[in-house]
């Protein structure tokens, strides 16, 4: 059992009815052995819960905790968001996946989109600690959805914030400053490496942006998984024409080689059922919200 030590709502997306939460949970072995880029698989219920992969956003080996950040995009994450401090998550296994390869290369641009900023955080820290000059680009649809700003400011050498609607930072998409950095605009030398984490479509376009400049670009994939240990192959993607398992061969891959279209299709494999379950979970949360008079109900409003 993994006790919840801290719970914070990082953002609330009115338009989509989705929230982003930060949980700090006890997991001493994972905290001790995890490295940047690795993830965990958790279940909200040991018997019937689905196994969902979440990247480790932060950890403290001495205090024995890890932090996870998740968005209430489906039934399981919505259920997870109902857990409170003092409660426990029944199943967490990790750290899974191969750690990020961190080398001193010079300038590294780390692009985090939406909730992808959270898994990017330890990678920014690690690159910075390795002596790289880290420029972080953080993107969101609108100001209220920018997360981890303070953490990223602390961990990076430079921080560029971009919002779709221009309500905060630069107006536009993350690919715009990324392109300028590759072009060497504003006195920058071309980055030696780019890491992009976010929605698949964002990563696809980041790769399309860096490809003409031939800047090595790593992406971190978050496909559907079950065991997370290489046993089922559910998470497989095509990388350079070869089938790879995200859970053990990844989660990070050479972005130039990933077949994003096939990956995005595969992520929709269970879409109908997922949406039905999400609606059911939302209705359930709403009902609890109404009877308890609790504000949690608003998550599903």
């Amino acid at each position: 059992m993994h006790k919840i030590l801290e719970k914070r709502r990082l953002s609330h997306d009115e338009e989509r009815g989705q929230d982003v939460y930060y949980f700090k949970v006890t997991a001493p072995e994972i905290a001790r052995n995890r490295r940047a880029g690795q993830f965990i698989v958790l279940q909200v219920d040991e018997t019937y819960g689905e196994r969902i992969p979440l990247t480790i956003a932060d950890a403290n080996a001495e205090e024995g905790w890890i932090a996870i950040v998740f968005q209430t995009v489906g039934a399981s994450t919505l259920k997870l968001s109902q857990f409170e401090v003092g409660g426990s998550i029944p199943v967490i296994v990790g750290p899974l996946g191969s750690p990020t390869r961190i080398e001193k290369v010079g300038t590294v641009v780390c692009v985090g989109g939406g909730i992808g900023v959270a898994p990017m955080h330890p990678i920014v820290q690690a690159h910075h600690n390795a002596g790289n000059h880290v420029i972080a680009i953080v993107g969101a649809r609108t100001k209220d959805l920018v997360i981890f700003e303070e953490e990223m400011k602390k961990a990076s050498d430079e921080l560029i914030i971009v919002t779709d609607d221009g309500s905060y930072g630069r107006k536009g998409l993350v690919t715009e400053p990324l392109k300028e950095l590759c072009e060497g605009k504003g006195g920058y030398s071309m980055p030696n490496e780019v890491v992009a984490i976010g929605p698949p479509i964002m990563m696809k376009f980041c790769v399309a942006t860096t490809r003409p400049f031939n800047v090595p670009t790593t992406v971190s994939l978050n496909t559907i998984m079950i065991d997370g240990t290489g046993m089922c192959g559910c998470c497989r993607v095509s990388v350079g024409g070869e089938t790879k398992f995200v859970c053990v061969d990844g989660p990070e891959f050479d972005g130039f080689k990933v077949d994003f279209d096939n990956m995005m299709q595969r992520m929709r494999a269970f879409r109908d059922r997922e949406q039905a379950d999400y609606q059911k979970a939302k209705d359930h949360v709403c009902r609890i919200g109404l009877t308890n008079g609790s504000t949690l109900g608003k998550a599903g409003a």
Binding site: E29, I30, R32, N33, Q43, V44, D45, E46, T47, Y48, G49, E50, R51, A75, S76, K79, P90, V91, I92, V93, G94, P95, L96, I226, D227, T229, G230, M231, C232, G233, C234, R236, V237, S238, T243, V248, D259, D261, N262, Q265, R266, R268, A269, F270, R273, E274, D277
Partner: protein, 496 residues
């Protein structure tokens, strides 16, 4: 296909035979004349849509009648066919006397999981293939039904709460780490705990049992039986650490050097699914058998009302392969609502590695077997969803190194089969995690851990066994390796 006989019908037949033989002194000829007892099973049409266990087990009378078929051969050829050397004629002799507890205790001197082995062992290839009765009657199918008798006494013991938990020897102060809670791991845990060592089993999943829980379906091996075995180990004092992936959560060397374990056993199983490496294998609707079965078994996706893990809705399902896992996948697909299930195998029924009973059950349930066919590519629609598979026809050629006739492709025979889900059951490779995270652990080119005759690996204080050593094998072979490893671990710790 003959008419399905209910348990009552089979029991009535057995009662008649029993009335004739029970007070007689039987000659070997009399024993040879006793009809072999058929395994009662649930109605094929009905059971193919339900998760309940298919084979229902002998009635007491059936077991008594079947046991009387055993000749009690002095040289006990059957025992030579058993990977763990169960004293078969002795346990059957106990059944002949009506002493079921004596029978199960006799089995347990060498096999700790009779309720499981009675259900999943390929007896027709092991003990029963050596049975004198089967030899005389010229068919291993007519051999004494050793597996069914084994299951009967184990089930009898459980149903009547007669299970005796072995008393461990006094604490030795030595600690054993067992990695993986499948058949090999559970066997090592039991044997080393019995010797008085403190034992911790590390399991990556949230449930214990390994392949017996994620792979073998409820309709073939009820999970309650596996849970009971684990419960008995807990009663003996074995500790279980769940959701603990050795190699990641902590490495093997951390366990040995920092956490104070004196010895470790690696029983992590095969667990890296093979794919076909053909066009379209990443389309939506193409699954490894591991994924399909794990969703259904471990994650309970068949229980749509309660389980959060979704099952892929499919009407026409093709399973590729001819082993037990293929049979499990095909029969699971029926139970999950498929209207049509094909089993595509590139050889013929004779060469199928699956247990005979599973093939027979699959056929009774309506699985459509396509022999001498092999897929060449998967075809998808514009959304990347599987809609058909292209198959190529084969014929049998010369025998290969395994002694089985080799399938040879017949060029130009490509044809398509419309399907919306495919289950690839072509076996597993070994999961590379332990080798990758353990310095000095020698493995074969295929990633199987190399061990000596005592299951010792290239690293001091570390033993291995089961599928991670053997490649994909069986529950009983894994147990056999576990027993050997445990004996060696106990010997090592005693001398320490």
């Amino acid at each position: 296909m003959s008419e399905h006989k209910t348990t009552e019908m089979l029991n009535q037949e057995a009662e008649k035979v029993w009335a004739e033989i029970k007070d007689k002194t039987l000659t070997p000829k009399d024993r040879g004349a006793i009809p072999g007892q058929e395994m009662p099973s649930r109605d094929p049409i009905q059971r193919a849509r339900e998760m309940g266990e298919v084979a229902m087990g002998y009635t007491e009378t059936q077991a008594r009648v079947e046991a009387e078929r055993c000749l009690g051969c002095t040289n006990a050829p059957c025992t030579k066919g058993c990977p763990v050397g169960v004293p078969i004629k002795d346990f059957i002799a106990h059944i002949q006397k009506g002493d079921f507890k004596g029978a199960v205790d006799t089995i347990k001197t060498t096999n700790l999981l009779p309720a499981i082995c009675g259900r999943v062992c390929p007896q027709e290839k092991q003990c029963q293939s050596f049975c004198t009765v089967g030899k005389i009657q010229k068919s291993p199918e007519k051999a004494v039904a050793i597996g069914r008798l084994e299951r009967f006494v184990a089930d009898w013991e459980r149903a009547n709460n007669k299970i005796t938990v072995p008393q461990p020897a006094p604490d030795t102060g030595k600690r054993v780490a067992v990695i993986g809670s499948g058949p090999a791991g559970l066997t090592v845990a039991a044997d080393t705990r019995r010797a008085g060592h403190s034992v911790t089993v590390f399991e990556a999943f949230q449930k214990t049992g390994g392949v017996m829980v994620y792979g073998i379906p409820e309709f073939r091996l009820p999970k309650e039986i596996v849970a009971k075995e684990v419960e008995n180990l807990k009663k003996m004092g074995v500790e279980f650490k769940m959701s603990f992936l050795v190699g990641r959560t902590e490495t093997l060397s951390q366990l040995l050097d920092e956490n104070g374990f004196d010895a470790a056993f690696i029983g992590t199983g095969a667990g890296l699914p093979k794919f076909l490496r053909i066009e379209g294998e990443n389309l939506i609707g193409v699954f490894s058998a591991n994924e399909y079965l794990t969703r259904a078994n471990l994650m309970k996706a068949y229980d749509v009302e309660h389980a959060d893990t979704p099952m892929f809705p499919a009407k026409r399902v093709a399973v590729f392969g001819g082993g037990n896992v293929a049979m499990d996948g095909a029969r699971m697909a029926l139970r999950l609502g498929a209207e049509k299930v094909y089993c595509i195998y590139r050889r013929t029924r004779t060469e199928m590695p699956a247990r005979a009973e599973e093939v027979a059950h699959a056929m009774e349930e309506g699985v459509d077997f396509h022999f001498l066919e092999n897929p060449t590519r998967f075809i998808g629609d514009e959304n990347g969803r599987l809609k058909a598979v292209e198959l190529l026809s084969y014929e049998l050629g010369e025998p290969d190194e395994s002694g089985r006739r080799k399938p040879v492709a017949k060029p130009g025979t490509e044809h398509q089969l419309e399907i919306d889900a495919a289950i690839v059951a072509l076996g597993n490779e070994s999961n590379p995690l332990m080798a990758k995270t353990t310095q000095g652990l020698n493995v074969t080119k295929r990633g199987n851990i190399i061990v000596d005759e005592n299951q010792k690996t290239s690293i001091p204080r570390v033993w291995a066994g089961g599928d991670i050593v053997l490649g994909a094998a069986t529950v009983i072979l894994a147990m056999g390796e576990g027993r050997r490893a445990a004996a060696s671990i106990n010997e090592y710790l005693a001398g320490k």
